[in-house]
Symmetry: D2
Subunit: 341 residues, 4 copies
């Protein structure tokens, strides 16, 4: 059971509601986010839904028997919109296209790419400054110094920034410089990191673990939400299968399923998903037709010279083509969605 609490609800009323839930046999957790309060009632209990609904201070009560309650569509039919400020928002009104290099490598690179994005109306730029690398001897990113000029140039152009955070101690240093924290696939079940991001008020783009089930992805999102942060984006980025002809197996089945189970926006990352440059555009278009609210694509001026992941990076010319096609495809998909209403 999930109980939505009125803004006007007093502490005494809250105690009455919680007490009653416990009496009924539930384990309760109070969740406070930046816009609302919820009481999460776990476990099995006998109770009368209407009884709770009529208590003072209660806004609404929902049966959500699944483990992942706050991120579920069962209590919130409308899709979550995430306002990034300055007129940039993640919502069903428009496809969110996120582009940028795998790693931030130099100020020149940031200028070049942010110029390209601004010219093409792309409002969110990606770029890693802390890079998780399999080998300890590989390039591990420019760190906060890189983020400073990355942020400065993007802000000058009205572009929002998403960048990966790898540990709790990086959150504070990054906070003022990014607009969306990204949680990478290797940290998808780093619960301490999820807890800490739940206590911030910045949006979080949560990538699916490379062997996470849909259920585990939603549970990771529930960690963030239950700590107080409602602004979460789910991102499919390829799973690990027996097939080695591509880097990962981008699992587009996840997209319509996540859209049905959860009210959170769902992105797709075809660059890491398929991991081969000439297939990235097709998989991005397919993601949109599968129902994605956004796509993340790695681009670079000279992909062959990227410090990491050059083999999956689109050139600026390819990116321009992809943007045009993505917009046309999304426009058609939106027509289809209207038909269904």
């Amino acid at each position: 059971m999930l109980i939505q609490i009125k803004n006007s609800c007093t502490e005494e009323e809250l105690e009455t509601i919680t007490g009653l839930a416990k009496e009924s046999g539930f384990k309760t957790s109070l969740v406070k986010t930046h816009n609302a309060r919820y009481i999460i009632c776990s476990g099995k209990a006998e109770f009368d839904l209407r009884h709770f609904g009529s208590l003072p201070g209660v806004k609404d009560v929902h049966m959500v028997e699944e483990d992942c309650k706050l991120v579920s569509r069962l209590w919130k039919v409308n899709e979550t919109e995430i306002d990034l400020g300055d007129g940039v928002a993640i919502s069903r009104k428009d496809l969110s296209i996120v582009m940028g290099p795998c790693s931030i490598e130099s100020e020149e690179q940031v200028i070049k790419i942010s110029d390209f994005l601004a010219e093409n109306g792309i409002k969110i730029m990606r770029g890693g400054i802390f890079k998780p690398r399999s080998s300890p001897y590989s390039f591990r990113g420019m760190g906060i110094e890189g983020l400073k000029f990355f942020s400065r140039h993007c802000r000058a152009r009205g572009i929002k920034i998403v960048s990966e955070v790898m540990q709790v101690s990086q959150i504070d240093a990054m906070y003022d410089l990014v607009d969306i924290f990204q949680v990478g696939t290797r940290n998808a079940q780093n619960f301490n990191l999820l807890d800490a991001l739940g206590r911030t008020d910045k949006p979080v783009l949560l990538k699916r673990g490379m062997s996470s089930t849909i259920q585990e992805l939603l549970a990771s999102a529930e960690y963030i939400f239950s700590n107080g942060n409602e602004r979460i984006i789910l991102c499919e980025r390829g799973i690990r299968t027996f097939e080695k002809a591509y880097r990962n197996t981008l699992d587009l089945n996840a997209i319509p399923l996540l859209k049905e189970k959860s009210h959170l926006p769902v992105f797709s990352d075809p660059s890491h998903g398929v991991g081969i440059r000439q297939y990235v555009e097709s998989m991005a278009l397919a993601s949109v037709m599968a129902g994605a609210d956004g796509v993340m694509i790695e681009i670079g001026e000279i992909p062959e010279r990227a410090a990491s992941d050059g083999q999956q990076t689109l050139s600026l010319t390819e990116a321009k083509q992809a943007i045009m096609k993505l917009r046309k495809t999304y426009s058609l998909k939106k027509d289809f969605l209207f038909l269904e209403q």
Copy 2:
């Protein structure tokens, strides 16, 4: 190396070519299909490509170092078109939509669905008469009797038939009644069946094994082609992964990769792929954007009552919607393909 032989090539010329290839160190296989002859030269050898090219009887010579030579794009840039007669063809000119029930269950069912297809301009109907079932005690299909009325009603409406063949001994009995033989996922590496289908002149729709790599799928197609049958359709139908939220994991990454590696047409089967009714349409549309030449979709009058696979079957109303959207999506994808030329 793959040597294309001229139609006018004499037996003596053929012997000279083969002899020279063997002298150069190759193992050779002569392949005769209904339209052409090829000499497949396997193994590593030192030779002069121009020397072979200039021999009498040789049409063209290609370096194809991969194991799968005949199905490769390296020697045949143009996509294979498959003419089914009566104006029905599988080609890049139009999206091939294949619809029908999982199993043929009754004459009434066939009439109902073939009428629906005829009204909606769908030219190919699917329907199983031999059903591979995990349990020996399940319904295993109506057999040839079912195929007879299935075929009669389809022919009366100008509709072509695709149906699964499970063993060599069924080929003859089915031959006059089907237009395309389907090889199911469990027989994707049943090499004797592939050999035998290679000796017929009917098109073969070859489903990817549920744990077949792309390379193995192409090798299975090479079995059919090297036995003499050039008319092969590759079909992605979902692979087996750790994720159990869907029946299989439809692997759309396979589509752009297969289109690049092979000249054969590529279909997608979202019904088995994702296996859940409400996601089938999205995955079908995504397949088209990924580059599929055709989609196979299970439909039925009352999906809930189907003898098999009802949970993944679209109703006729849903099918009608899906057809409209598929055509619009394909039209957009075709525009994109034109841009690339």
Copy 3:
């Protein structure tokens, strides 16, 4: 429900039993094997077990709600023993060690290896004469001619033969020359082949499909049994996973699970399982400790020159060492099993 029928049961009594089962709401299948008759009752029904137990002609009645009834331990607690004649049997009394080359290549090879086996007390030899190969251009085995001398030399030395059958039409030609038919991993769900092998009276060694679940492996065995052949050996041979450091992932978890679920003997094939020569012995010993009733190991005089799978083949010196260690390990495991009784 599974009903064991007395040998003395008359046709009339059988009809009464079947009639009553149908009346109760079951779908029934009569299974006749070489030693017994069974009525398999599928579906859900309300009935009184004692009522059936007291009918004339009924030997015993068991609740077996799973799909795989005949192969289940739920009605047959004792392990199935398979007598191959001449004092060779597959049973818990002794570890079955099966050795031999991947492919039969020459008479000299057969003589050499069968001599080695005879000297070392190994009673079953493996060797392929029909080889499933990914590429149509690879060596596909010596066929029946090879089987003839293979069989002759083994019989002269009191050694039994197991060899793979790939299609129904090969069964008759192989019947007199082999002692155990092997079904390969690619045919683990070739239901027509399973049906046909169920109609013979030769033991069948059924390999797990490379992506078959335990449930599917048991269902494939049920196909054979329900057609009349009780003499089935289940064989774990490695599954397909994301890990590519070995050829397949030998799944030893399957062994204690299969031993619990089914009364059939369970073998392990570490040669294909791990697929790397220096790890085969360790995985064979581990298989025994996991509870395997037998192990299949590829051996050859000069592994480096084998026509197929040389990289996973033990030399005769290595094989001799492995035999000694396997016997000591099995002896210890048998001590442990006695402790449990």
Copy 4:
């Protein structure tokens, strides 16, 4: 290339060696552990091995072309032994048996189990105080308070402790209370945590990620080693595959492979690996025969009442049986290892 540095090597000599390596075209990293110094030379370069070997300050030089250099057997043939003090060591001389509950739940539980271990000669106890749980609403462990009495009772009985650390900030608080830090499967690629553990001098038991390749597991160990901590134990604990009949698929193939590739000790965790109580013992014995240096097994007084993972927990009676069998099996395996020398 990996250069071992003499203890007597001066700073100037070190600079000369590093300078020369850079001149030859290498990227160099200096690694200082508690016993030794190494220069890791990455990348491809032309050089004369003997030249480096003859430099003052150089102990030895090895060609190690793989990414994982420090953990490789290529420069260190002898197996790493880990001395835990008080006569407890992880080495080939004896099988390391680690037992204990999934979660520390109460002081009574710790007393009961540590008494049992002391009576049975088991020297290392496991027990979680920080629990990674899929759902944010599940029991997440007793924390440092639990660790305090856990540690006190174990020390009183001469038993060493292994417990999972989930984030960098927990290291200091746990440092004095544990003997081995465990890195869980979800943190196997939490590189910041690995870096931090590499800067401590406590042994680290590193579990394989549930979808980590062998190569990735070794790379994670390389992170720890290259930060200065040589005392690492690798632990196979089950991978994620399509098979859902067990909790995970314990991958015993990993054991002989890891033993060959690396000089680090290798453990197996059959409790999480197969995850079903009645198969744990068989899989533990199989692990030993596969070559494991240690096994970790979950035990509890009343498994059915455990706060987590009760379904895979052995009772004390079962544990006693397993200990006896493990010792006998290891004794036989050790005899086999002697034969090979």
